[in-house]
Symmetry: C2
Subunit: 199 residues, 2 copies
Amino acid sequence: MQLSPKLAALVEALRCLPGIGPKSAQRIAFHLLERDRDGGAQLGNCLSQAMQSIGHCESCRTFSETPICDICESVKRQDSGLLCVVESPTDVLAIEQTGQYTGLYFVLMGHLSPLDGIGPQEIGLDVLQTKLQQGNINEVILATNPTVEGEATAHYIAELCNNLGVKASRIAHGMPVGGELDLVDGMTLMHAFSGRKAL
Amino acid sequence: MQLSPKLAALVEALRCLPGIGPKSAQRIAFHLLERDRDGGAQLGNCLSQAMQSIGHCESCRTFSETPICDICESVKRQDSGLLCVVESPTDVLAIEQTGQYTGLYFVLMGHLSPLDGIGPQEIGLDVLQTKLQQGNINEVILATNPTVEGEATAHYIAELCNNLGVKASRIAHGMPVGGELDLVDGMTLMHAFSGRKAL
Ligand SMILES: [Zn+2]
Ligand SMILES: [Zn+2]
């Protein structure tokens, strides 16, 4: 038996979900048809809407349904003079969940990766430069990932900031709170040592 | 930061997928928006189409986009005089993949479960009875799951068949091919012993 055309198309389309192979895709399709047609129809609708209507904030490049996102619109955040640079919108969410940071963001939507053709323009550094030249930002906090590419990107942006006379800082790396020394990787341990502070 | 309305709606809607919690739903939504908008839009479209257009075959109750499914339409299968009763459309797929069975199917879309209000009518036994009374089926092969409910359902249908003078048989249970004796559950082992054959 072949699957009917629309069922086969659904199974195939489900494979765009990360980590879903052909077997799981089939299981999901049957589950929705058997047990949750309303949920499936609702998901279909939300996906179509989201893929069509969610663009990027013109100011910080994060996902937004409006030309300028809520965070960039906030006068209080504009007044902070702080701009935190991250690689992805999920990083913004993670930082916002701490409830401690009250400045603006700039989302690179990736990191420099010259071999993949991802240069300064692809991660929006022209937009960032224009923003910094407007003179409202006092400090750029570089919160790219502590990976080789993230570090390289942070250093590249730090130089851009220095050229424009804007202070740049890098978030601290070290032991995660509650972590165990012997379970942490060597790179993190190295950062923890080199970043040590007097008590 | 709150998620924008359409992004929040998408994250919420993704939770209808089996085994997807709030964290995974968020990860999937961002993945699609960042890396695979075409795939996401395609999935949205396929979901809407499938939930709307895929109904049940009037003859065997499996999923079908047409009133009668391909298997039920097949004259060769009609001529076999065999009808295999299973609980779910995925069981049909599994049996079809063996390529050995060439008869018809009847899909219960569940099993008898009086406490949940699922009686003979809910699993289509009225439709099955009409089918058997037409006189084209010589043998009903009961391939419900080897669970308490599956067994009870098989026995109920066997009695129905006996009353109508149609032969009913139950698929064999025992050791899975390639299985190891000490790794198999007691119920299966018991079936394997009671179903032993002379060599
Ligand atoms: Zn923004
Ligand atoms: Zn059918």
